[in-house]
C-alpha cells in the first residue's frame, strides 16, 4: 500500500541497479531532503544546532566507519583518532591562511594517510585481533595528541577553530552551520548509496565475506582493504573538521578519545552493519536518546517531588547508552536498519499479504 511494487518492472540491468529500485523509496528520500532543507524555518535554532546538526555530522562519520566495518568487514576501534587527525590538520591549515575549502580537503587527506596505517594492521590480522590493534593505535594517537603542544596546545588545552568560511562567505549563523552539516551528510550518503552499485562496493563485500576466496576470484584484497580504510578515513577527517568548525568551535583531545571511537562503532552496529538508513537511526539513538531519558528522569522526579542525586543524574545517560547497545543487539543483532527493513517488507505488500493467509 505504502510501498507499491505493482507496476514496477525492471526489464534491464540498468534499471534494476538504479539507486532507488522502488519509486516510493525515491519519493521518501526527496521528501526527507525537502524537510531537511526547510528545517531552519520550522525548528527553533536551539533544537536545530544542538540536536539535528550533530546528528547529521555524526551520521556522515558513522557512514564512513560503516564503509570499513560494514562493507569491508574490518573492525575499527580507532576511528575517533582518525577524525582527530582531520580536525587538527584542517584547523592548523586554516590558521596558516589557507581557505577552508582546501583545508577541509587537506584534513581529509591527512586523515586518509594516517588512517591507512590502520589498514596495515588489517592486512595482518582480522576480527578480534584487529579490533585490539586499532584500539591500541587509538591510545597511541591519543597520547601523541595530548603530548605534542604543537598540535593540540598540550594536555588540557584546546584549540580555537577559526570562523568557517566557504565559497568566500563567512558562516556565522545557526542556519548556515546547519546547511553545511546537511550538505556534507547528503554528500556522504549519496556516495555510499552509489558505492553499493559499483564494482568497488561489490569487491569490498567480497573481501568481507571471505578475503581469500575473493583473492581467488581476482579481487586484490590488500588493495581494497587499504582503499576502504583510506576512503573511510577521508570521510572521518572531514567530518571531524566540520564537527569542530560548526559544533564544538574548540578542538580538544578528549573530543576524540577512545570512548568516542567506541561510540561511533556503537552507532554503526546498533544501526546495522552495511545499512545506510540504519546509520541514521543508530546515530539518533546513541546520540540523542540518553539525553532524552535523562530529561525524562529530571521531569519525572520534579513532578513526583523526589530528590534525585546530582551524581545519579550525571551518570544515567551513560547507563542508558550502554543499555541501548545491549538491548538493540539482543532484539535484532543486525541492528535498526534490519528492523526498518522488516517493517518495509511488511508494508510492501500490506494489506494484500494478510488477505492471502
Amino acid at each position: 500500500m505504502f510501498y507499491r511494487l505493482s507496476g514496477v518492472y525492471h526489464s534491464s540491468l540498468i534499471s534494476d541497479s538504479r539507486m532507488f529500485k522502488v519509486p516510493a523509496d525515491r519519493n521518501l528520500a526527496v521528501f526527507l531532503l525537502l524537510i531537511g532543507l526547510a528545517a531552519p524555518f520550522i525548528l527553533p535554532s536551539l533544537y536545530l544546532n544542538s540536536y539535528i546538526l550533530p546528528w547529521l555530522i555524526w551520521t556522515a562519520a558513522a557512514l564512513g566507519l560503516n564503509l570499513v566495518t560494514g562493507w569491508a568487514g574490518q573492525l575499527h576501534l580507532g576511528y575517533a583518532a582518525v577524525m582527530a587527525v582531520g580536525a587538527y590538520s584542517a584547523i592548523h591549515t586554516v590558521r596558516l591562511g589557507v581557505p577552508w575549502e582546501i583545508a577541509l580537503i587537506i584534513g581529509g587527506l591527512a586523515a586518509s594517510v594516517i588512517g591507512s596505517l590502520f589498514a596495515f594492521a588489517a592486512l595482518r590480522v582480522k576480527g578480534l585481533y584487529l579490533a585490539l590493534t586499532t584500539l591500541a593505535m587509538q591510545f597511541v594517537m591519543d597520547w601523541v595528541l595530548t603530548h605534542s603542544p604543537t598540535i593540540s596546545g598540550g594536555s588540557h588545552a584546546s584549540l580555537q577553530a577559526p570562523t568557517l568560511a566557504l565559497l568566500g562567505q563567512q558562516i556565522t549563523s545557526d542556519a548556515g552551520y546547519y546547511y553545511v552539516a546537511l550538505g556534507w551528510c547528503v554528500l556522504v550518503t549519496i556516495f555510499m548509496l552509489n558505492l553499493k552499485r559499483t564494482g568497488l562496493g561489490r569487491a569490498l563485500v567480497a573481501v568481507r565475506e571471505k578475503d581469500f576466496a575473493a583473492a581467488i576470484l581476482g579481487v586484490n584484497s590488500f588493495y581494497y582493504k587499504i582503499l576502504a580504510f583510506a576512503a573511510s578515513s577521508f570521510i572521518a577527517g572531514v567530518s571531524g573538521a566540520l564537527l569542530v568548525a560548526t559544533f564544538y568551535f574548540l578542538a580538544a583531545p578528549e573530543q576524540f578519545s577512545v570512548n568516542v571511537s567506541i561510540q561511533v562503532l556503537a552507532m554503526v552496529i546498533v544501526g546495522g552493519l552495511g545499512s545506510i538508513i540504519g546509520s541514521y537511526f543508530g546515530v539518533a539513538l546513541i546520540l540523542l536518546v540518553p539525553g532524552l531519558v535523562n530529561g525524562l528522569v529530571v521531569t519525572a522526579s520534579e513532578e513526583l517531588g523526589m530528590q534525585v542525586n546530582v551524581e545519579t543524574l550525571a551518570h544515567i545517560p551513560n547507563a542508558v547508552y550502554g543499555a541501548l547497545i545491549v538491548i538493540i543487539l539482543m532484539i535484532e543483532p543486525l541492528g535498526l536498519g534490519k528492523l526498518y527493513g522488516n517493517i518495509r517488507d511488511y508494508l510492501m505488500t500490506w494489506p494484500f499479504d494478510q488477505l492471502r493467509k
Binding site: G127, A136, H147, E311
Partner: protein, 295 residues
C-alpha cells in the same frame, strides 16, 4: 645505572604486573571457555569493588564476610549476564559480541556510578602501608598480597581446567555445535565462565581498589588487562601470569627511561606499543593455541 635501583624497578614492576594478571585472568577465563572476548571485565571489576564496599560500609559487615559474599553476588551476576544477553548472540559474528560486551561495560559502569556516585572511596583492607624491605629494595605489602592472590587463582584455575567441568568448558570454546551434539550444556558452560570471571573481578576490584581507590578509574585497567591477555595468548592462564610479569617489568623500567625523554606519561604508550607489536608479530601470544587449519 644503579643495579639496586634497577632491580627495585623490575621487582615492583613484576608485582604490579601480577596485579594486571589478576585482571587479565577474567578475560582469559571467558575466552578459554567460549571463544568470546570479554571487554566488560573493566566494568565487572568496578562493580565487584563497589559491591564489597556496599556490603562492608553501608551494611556494616566485616571485610572477611563482605568479600566472599560479594563473590557470591558477582557469581550470580555473571550467570545472569549470560542468561540475559549473551545467550541470544551465541554463534553470531565477533563484531556483535564485541560490541555487546562493550555495551555491557558501559552499562555496568554507568549504573554503578549512578547508584553510588562518582567520588572515590577507599577500600581499607588493613594491609600496612609500611613498605617491606628486601635487602635494599622497597616492596609494597599490598602489591605482594595481590601477587599472592593472582598466583593462588592461577593454581586454582589450572587445576580447574583439568577437571571434567573444565574440560567441557574448553570443548565449548572449540566447537559450540559439537558440544551441543554430545549433550554439553553450552549455555551453562558459558554462564559458568562469566560467573568465574566475575568472581575474579571481585579479587581484582578489592586489590586495585586498595591501591588506587574505588572509582571510575578501575575500569581503565582494561587496556593493560587486554595487553597482558593477548601477550600471554588469549586462552592461556599460564600466559596471563607470565605476560603480566613481562609487561609489568617492561612498563616500570621502560617508563623510567622514557619519561624524561618525552616529558612523562609514557606508560600508556608502552602498553599500547606492546599490544600492537604482539598482535603484529605473534597474534596467538606466548602460550596461546594456534588455530589448526587442515586442508
Amino acid at each position: 645505572m644503579d643495579w639496586v635501583f634497577l632491580s627495585e624497578l623490575a621487582i615492583n614492576g613484576a608485582l604490579t604486573g601480577l596485579l594486571y594478571s589478576l585482571f587479565a585472568i577474567g578475560l582469559v577465563l571467558v575466552y578459554k571457555a567460549s571463544s568470546v572476548p570479554n571487554l566488560a571485565q573493566g566494568g565487572l571489576t568496578m562493580v565487584g569493588a563497589y559491591v564489597v564496599l556496599a556490603l562492608a560500609r553501608d551494611l556494616g559487615m566485616p571485610l572477611w564476610l563482605a568479600i566472599p559474599l560479594a563473590a557470591v553476588v558477582m557469581f550470580g551476576l555473571g550467570f545472569g549476564i549470560e542468561r540475559v544477553a549473551l545467550r541470544r548472540l551465541a554463534g553470531r559474528p565477533v563484531v556483535m559480541i564485541l560490541m555487546l560486551t562493550l555495551g555491557l561495560d558501559i552499562f555496568l559502569r554507568g549504573t554503578t556510578l549512578a547508584i553510588s556516585g562518582g567520588t572515590s572511596r577507599s577500600m581499607e583492607l588493613g594491609v600496612s602501608y609500611e613498605p617491606l624491605l628486601l635487602g635494599d629494595i622497597f616492596i609494597s605489602r599490598i602489591h605482594l598480597v595481590g601477587a599472592g592472590v593472582a598466583l593462588a587463582l592461577f593454581v586454582a584455575f589450572i587445576v580447574f581446567f583439568r577437571t571434567r567441568t573444565g574440560i567441557k568448558l574448553r570443548a565449548i570454546a572449540d566447537d559450540y555445535m559439537a558440544s551441543w551434539s554430545v549433550g554439553i550444556s553450552v549455555e551453562r558452560g558459558v554462564g559458568l565462565s562469566w560467573a568465574l570471571a566475575s568472581v575474579v573481578a571481585v579479587a581484582a576490584g578489592v586489590i586495585w581498589g586498595e591501591i588506587q581507590g574505588v572509582d571510575q578509574a578501575l575500569s581503565l585497567l582494561l587496556l593493560k588487562g587486554l595487553t597482558v591477555a593477548v601477550l600471554g595468548g588469549l586462552d592461556s592462564i599460564l600466559g596471563a601470569i607470565v605476560a603480566g610479569i613481562i609487561l609489568g617489568v617492561i612498563e616500570n623500567v621502560g617508563a623510567e627511561f622514557l619519561d624524561p625523554l618525552v616529558g612523562g606519561g609514557s606508560r600508556e604508550l608502552i602498553v599500547a606499543a606492546v599490544l600492537i607489536l604482539t598482535v603484529m608479530i605473534r597474534p596467538h601470544g606466548l602460550f596461546g593455541r594456534h588455530d589448526i587449519e587442515r586442508v
